[in-house]
Symmetry: C3
Subunit: 400 residues, 3 copies
């Protein structure tokens, strides 16, 4: 039997495993590595009290997945290189301690420290009052909080899978419901997979409208990376069709949008919106590489379901969070009502799903980084990026 | 000794039992059934993390009580028939994850899925800003959230009792404090009792003003039922003196207020307010019966402490929550300030209590359903219900 | 080795001890007492679910410290005398159940019942909208809630220390981060120490700006005492330079500011602001003594870092919380923007710390109380307190 399943949590059936350890055994071997492992722990104390952490290790690359925080990926490690950033929020925060309405709707920031954090499912972007008209012209107001609810919703089902076919792989699947009585009911089913011995991990998500009427949906993958990938003169490499600053602050740096500065106290964030070019399979790739060119993180994803890309440059001093965000999304992270007018809000019919696929690869040799950079430049080809010096009115709320 | 007590939780004394199982034994037998049991479990994972569930089973009927959610009753089962409804919120939600201020004061809906959910204790009804004048004419504003706090407050004391007298019974008593420094301090002491082998359960509640000054109190029993009791052509049977629609939407359906439609996507709720007739013992009864007349749920309660009754018809499609609410209460669920003007807000003196008693009986045979319906019609007698086509200004906030 | 360390919680390393007990042993003896002990428990059930309690007992005096509630001190006991008050909130409340925005920003009161509760770290005082101008003249608004966040933030590190030198001592140190992405990052490191066999406990706190830019800081020690120290004709004794009522309500009682009334239903709180005189070592002391003069609680603290003192008289009936507050602070507990204008808000540079030291001593004999009262009167000396009949405009927001 090529697939072994282990239920780590299932609220419906009253199943929940406090502590779990899996290692290679005579009964369970993967061809790709003899050092893979899976562990599951519950954290206690501080704001992390009650946080479940599932750590997948394929022998080369390890990832800590947080079912308690919407299947976010806390951090990773590839050989000796950490995949993470240092947020002022040092540890995973149990959503029970997060008041999304804190700081005038910015409470999401009180728990923000992951390598990969989803923004959605009903909305993402800044907080504010969203007025929606129904078919009869009646307006309903909703108070949106920064980046939505999903990152602060725990999975009610967590299943580990070990597949022995080929090189073998380990994966964890979590199911998260964003719902309310009289509200939309969106279900995220997220699977993170590592092939044994590989430098890659794959995120496959499905968002399903479980309700009986059409539901709006927005989804953004807030992928956050710090040192050693990010540093002075690190570079962002991508096959860009168009790029524009989000606002005047970003416009100041449009000439250097693809390079980074070192940590600076008081640096104000700059965000660039982009339209990226997919390859013939429909996938596009971006690379963050350090100045020396011997550390690189590549994010590849299917652009169809995620047509928008935002680059978040936040090169503040280390203590305040030196980080950049690589953010494929269904939309640009403007306020939802603006995105709705731009037709960048999904409308899912009952039982309709939206599926996204992202692949992350880590490189720690100059050869590999150089090769990957070449592949992306090759995809860019002769078509130079169209660079807008000012915010585009159809992309940015501030551009009007 | 006819009474056996088991302390499942007592915060004051540092007692809390993670897992508890009780079954008939040579030392503990009940004449009414040899298949009764009590279990207590803690749920983990998802939004249910930390929820305690006490399941009472009298051999015929089982109930899952939630001390963590204000002694609400999650669901039940009588023989093969489920006593529940399918909320889009699939599992019990720990109040630590519920922000009552979410959705402009409708956050209560994020955790709403019980068979029996109390609305109170200081207020129930819709959210809004309640201005209260004190004796000196000073106005204080309070921001009320939908249906109050009590359903999202955990019991700090949970005691199981097994009484061997007569047929024998099992019961659980929880104590819930709704309090704050400089706020009212209302204590709910709730006991749910099942006689061994019976098709009934009894809820006996006492709300006590523990504070040093007069405290306002409102209490509504949001009893929520879905299939198989509810379905197309199910009927609501009650000894009605007066019935009126809550608002214009309900007025549209006043001609069919006592019958139900099948599930419909987009159905907008209809609510009917009623004055019910008690029998000579002071108890009134309502029945929800299915179209075939072979499934029925009867709710009997003492009308003195609960003079108002609301019927909530919410026959949305199954995915959005196909459900009806049978809701005896101290008041009609209008905004508190309106109810105060109508003298339908209790004023409890220090140490004064308000006691309520509700009995629920489940029937799964045509004979029983028919008999119970007959009893209610008999109580109605020749006095036809007075049916108001429009909202009554003294019952509905919108009627003015 | 004179110091023994026990890590009770360390989120970073995944350490957390559910239950801990330490008593004198052949390997661990303290000269000052052979009856000392330390226990650590986790509470379950009610709103206390998930609360960790560390109880230090030096053989004469015991204290219950709450790492889960910002290292607040729940209660204590000296011989047969309880150090506590009876809040309507009977048990410690897990911050996950506290919505600071409840009751228009007064949600802090939903969890308020400690003997010692810190108000801070970024602000204390009443709720409201605080507008701050940055260097460029841009105004940012922050919605402040009553008395800040720190009392509702759990410690992510808890370490017990037993020192065998001299009489020996037991202490617990907790580390609490008040932080957010894009927010200030203030770290409280708090140590509570009891010397074996002593009637004293010492609180040593350090607040450090962990962020990369200057951060504001306010800190108030809300020390709350009820019976038997507080009662009719109890007295507050302190070396006062100046004392003024906070507002008109307090002005009514300025003639009796230092004496207390018995419990009265409906009593409205009175608060007095003071400038206290330190001794030659920089420490000042206040005493709360009962009418009989045989129970006394002395609070001594270094006035340099805590130049302001507030006396909170809240002699409501027992059921509503009969209590007085002795409150040394960096500021007076007015709204933050007023305190900022009065230059009573700290500005901590990156890595700068603010250190406070408070000593509490309990007395249960007339001789001791009389002696301590004499010491304070001696410090007062011939310099009579300057008593303001009305609020001072530089001390009170309402005085303008």
């Amino acid at each position: 039997m090529p697939t072994h399943e282990f239920v780590l949590a299932n609220v419906e059936n009253g199943v929940w495993i406090e502590s779990f350890d899996l290692e290679p055994s005579a009964q369970l071997e993967l061809a790709g590595s003899d050092r893979w492992s899976v562990t599951k722990r519950r954290l206690h104390g501080g704001l992390s009290d009650g946080i479940d952490v599932v750590t997948l290790d394929n022998g080369e690359l390890s990832l800590s997945v947080l079912p308690t925080r919407g299947m976010g990926i806390w951090k990773g490690q590839y050989h000796d290189t950490e995949l993470s950033w240092k947020s002022p929020v040092a540890f995973p925060v149990n959503p029970s301690f997060v008041d999304l309405f804190d700081r005038q709707g910015l409470g999401w920031l009180n728990g923000f420290n992951e390598l990969l954090c989803r923004c959605g499912l009903s909305w993402n972007g800044p907080p504010g009052m969203d007025a929606v008209e129904d078919e009869d012209g009646n307006s309903t107001e909703s108070e949106l909080t920064l980046h939505g609810r999903v990152a602060n919703l725990p999975a009610h089902s967590v299943v580990l899978k070990v597949v022995t076919e080929g090189k073998g792989s380990i994966s964890v699947t979590g199911v998260v419901d964003e719902t309310s009585m009289f509200g939309p009911w969106l279900r995220l089913t997220s699977t993170v997979t590592l092939q044994a011995g590989s430098n890659e991990f794959v995120v496959e998500d499905r968002v399903t409208n479980m309700g009986g009427t059409v539901a709006e949906c927005q989804l953004l993958y807030h992928t956050n990376v710090g040192q050693p990938f990010l540093g002075a003169d690190s570079r962002f490499v991508a096959p860009i069709r168009q790029v524009a600053p989000r606002d005047e602050r970003a416009a100041e740096g449009i000439g250097d949008y693809s390079t980074y500065r070192g940590p600076e106290a008081g640096y104000a964030e700059q965000v660039y919106y982009m339209d990226l070019k997919p390859d013939s399979s429909g996938e596009s790739s971006v690379l963050l590489r350090n100045s020396a060119g011997d550390k690189g993180l590549k994010l590849s994803y299917t652009t169809g379901p995620l047509p928008c890309f935002a680059l978040w440059k936040n090169t503040q001093c280390e203590a305040d969070g030196y980080v950049t965000g690589l953010e494929p999304a269904t939309n640009f992270p403007n306020f939802k009502s603006f995105e709705r007018r731009q037709s960048r809000v999904l409308n899912l019919k009952p039982n309709e799903s939206h599926e996204c696929r992202l692949r992350f690869a880590v490189y720690d040799s100059a050869d590999d980084v150089s090769r990957v950079e070449g592949e992306i430049l090759n995809l860019q080809g002769n078509s130079h990026p169209q660079v807008f010096d000012e915010p585009r009115p159809e992309w940015s709320d501030v551009g009007a």
